[in-house]
């Protein structure tokens, strides 16, 4: 007799309150459904009530983890509407800030993964060491998370030689953190044992459900907006798009772990070759019309669509976030998976932070709720 299992929205807690309903037979999941909307704030409507400038702060607050790339994607789209030519130095600076963000986001993901696999020591180590990026952001931009660094036409704060030195120092420490994570993922690594063969998303399925970012690349598809449709200064910087073939949780981990090295490579190159000049151009008047912009957020392709009627307030702003695209991948991965792996699978795409060890199981026959350990 199949049972229904609910995960979220508030019990157990995921960082984003979402609700998953799993139909379970024995220890296998036979079907999965998802209900979103607990975080719905009406942002797209709010975008149309304030000026292009003011909307920067709103775009930043769509997600508090990849806040920077949202402002970048938004600003780049507006820059197209306004015909603003962003100075070369600003383009390089944008790459530096965005790769730092990718680093902190990827490490956070590893922290969460370790947590969901009950590797509490690994969790504590990664979360503790990751703090230095947050400190660095605070030093560079004035805030640990909502950096408010991008503006229409460029960036708001420069990187002086002194600051560049500090960034290099931080990268040195991070390199050893990445080495540590890689060692957990080698053939006998602690994480390898718990992630190999879990939550497999085959290549065609990944394409079919429209997965993006590291989830897609872990299923063997070479796709990265930074290469496919370069923005900022990515066309001038040398880096590799990391791809893994297996499509399981280990492949997703490897993609992210290897990407941290690429991010460091990008930052170092950008620091070495930082052109001189202004850090921002003056914004202009928006033309009447529409524009679309995309960037590679830490979780994958992020898209902004903006329609302008020529006033200083946009007529329509549409945002397609990578997590939204990947939610459909979760459902595909959950079907047929062991119940004990459900949490790790959900967290393989999304920052679900403090998921507990338990889920509520509803007996499909009697409707009686019981608490079950998800171990």
């Amino acid at each position: 007799m199949p049972e229904k299992v609910y995960i979220g929205p508030y019990r157990p807690q995921l960082v984003e309150p979402e609700r998953f309903e799993l139909l379970v037979e024995g220890d296998r999941i036979i079907d999965a459904k998802m209900e979103l909307g607990y975080m719905h704030r009406g942002i797209e409507k709010l975008f149309t009530t304030r000026t292009y400038m003011q909307n920067l702060a709103l775009a930043e607050r769509i997600c508090g983890i990849c806040s920077g790339v949202h402002t970048l994607c938004y600003a780049q789209t507006v820059e197209r509407l306004m015909g603003v030519d962003v100075p070369e130095r600003a383009r390089y600076l944008r790459c530096i800030y965005m790769e730092l963000e990718r680093l902190h986001s990827h490490y956070l993901w590893f922290g969460i993964l370790a947590h969901s696999l009950h590797e509490h020591e690994i969790f504590a180590k990664i979360m503790g060491e990751r703090e230095i990026i947050q400190d660095l952001f605070e030093y560079l931009t004035g805030n640990r998370i909502n950096y408010a660094i991008n503006t229409i036409g460029g960036v708001r704060r420069d990187i002086t030689p002194e600051k560049a030195e500090k960034i290099r120092k931080v990268l040195k420490t991070l390199r050893s953190l990445s080495d540590y994570i890689m060692s957990l993922l080698d053939d006998n690594g602690v994480l390898t044992k718990k992630t190999k063969g879990v939550g497999v998303l085959p290549r065609d399925k990944a394409i079919e459900v429209g997965a993006v970012g590291p989830v897609l690349r872990a299923s063997g598809v070479t796709s990265d907006v930074r290469k496919d449709d370069p923005y900022a200064a990515y066309d001038k910087l040398n880096f590799e798009v990391i791809v893994e073939k297996d499509g399981d949780l280990r492949a997703k981990s490897l993609v992210r772990a290897r990407e941290t090295y690429e991010s460091m490579k990008i930052i170092e190159q950008a620091l070495d070759n930082l052109p001189s000049g202004d850090i921002a151009a003056k914004p202009g008047e928006p033309k009447v019309g529409e524009e679309i912009g995309r960037t590679e957020a830490p979780r994958g392709e992020l898209i902004y669509y903006i329609k302008s009627n020529g006033t200083n307030i946009p007529e329509r702003v549409k945002v397609r976030t990578p997590s939204y695209a990947n939610n459909f991948a979760i459902l595909a991965m959950l079907r047929g998976e062991y119940l004990k792996n459900a949490r790790a699978v959900i967290e393989s795409i999304d920052p679900c932070f403090a998921c507990t060890d338990r889920v509520v199981v509803v007996d499909a026959r009697t409707g009686v709720r019981r608490i079950m350990n998800l171990k």
């Binding site: 508030y10 704030r41 997600c63 983890i65 605070e138 403090a354």
Partner: protein, 302 residues
């Protein structure tokens, strides 16, 4: 209270505040060393930490969670979303501020507040002393914390309120004074106001320990005198702003008009209503003629 068990309730913010609450568990910040644990069921908690602005969809769950928290049932709102709805204020699914739904005892402002601010606030609430010795308690230069307005420099122009990304700044005109009021619990700490201020009067400072239980006090204000119209005696415009604008004209933009400063000042010290009178228009025309003669003479001499 011997043991503090915290349950987190997140309802529609950007998540950053919740991430920072969890960050407090990191050994560096040592929430645990204050005897605080984070629990996953409201039944096991005696403290409720709220983040996010509150939505229609999460309302029932919040009320249910609040019921289950054990005494002394201390409720702490972390971050400006949970305090005032912040930038999501006019969002259609947003039903906060959360203190309308359940009683809130303490507020920790920020967007997000640093973990240091949260730790210190929790220690203060518990009456525990902590030493801020380590370097990371300091804020770096350029940190975007609570605002400060330099009373000497502020001219009351309201440019900060115009640009503000979260409707945090109010311009209130009274009979004699204009008040510029920064409501920093309804603020994203984006510092656009600082960039926009023409006199560099407004600054975001390193002040970040902003714990309060009285939201009325969470303000930074400045007052400027309004000018009295030379004709009707009504007030209409900040005095300092006119001085500032005039100074800019005669000293920076067009020094050739310096000899006429007092006449220009007389002309602008008339409220918009009185400026429309026949007498005022005639006077203004005479002044303009003089100014353009002066300009022509200067050009010719060159």
């Amino acid at each position: 209270m011997d043991k503090i068990s915290v349950y987190r309730f997140l309802s529609a913010g950007c998540n950053a505040c919740d991430v920072e609450v969890l960050e407090c568990l990191a050994p560096r910040y040592g929430l645990a060393s204050l005897g605080v644990e984070v629990v996953e069921e409201p039944e096991k908690a005696n403290v409720l930490i709220l983040t996010g602005a509150g939505t229609v969809k999460g309302r029932e769950a919040l009320l249910e969670v609040y019921e289950k928290i054990n005494p002394p049932k201390i409720v702490i709102a972390v971050g400006n979303c949970s305090i005032t709805k912040n930038i999501f204020d006019k969002g259609y699914p947003i039903i906060g501020p959360l203190n309308k739904l359940i009683p809130v005892n303490y507020y920790i402002p920020g967007c997000p507040p640093r973990p240091q601010a949260i730790i210190k606030a929790v220690a203060d609430i518990l009456g525990v002393k902590i030493e801020e010795r380590e370097e990371w308690w300091q804020t770096p230069e350029g940190f975007r914390g609570r605002h400060e307005i330099d009373r000497e420099k502020c001219i009351g122009c309201g440019a900060c309120a115009q640009i503000c990304t979260a409707d945090a700044i109010e311009v209130i005109d009274g009979p004699e004074k204009r008040i510029i009021k920064v409501n920093y619990v309804h603020c994203t700490f984006c510092a656009f106001c600082q960039d926009e201020c023409p006199t560099k009067a407004l600054k975001l400072t390193g002040a970040y320990h902003l714990l309060t239980n009285d939201l009325q006090k969470a303000r930074v204000e400045n007052e400027v005198n309004l000018l009295t119209c030379a004709i009707c005696g009504g007030t209409f415009f900040p005095e300092k702003q006119i001085d500032w604008a005039l100074k800019r004209i005669v000293e920076e933009k067009a020094p050739i008009y310096r000899d006429f400063s007092s006449e220009i000042l007389d002309a602008v010290k008339i409220c918009t209503n009185c400026r429309r009178s026949v007498e005022s228009i005639k006077k203004a025309k005479r002044l303009l003629t003089k100014l353009s003669e002066k300009a022509r003479a200067t050009v010719l001499r060159k």
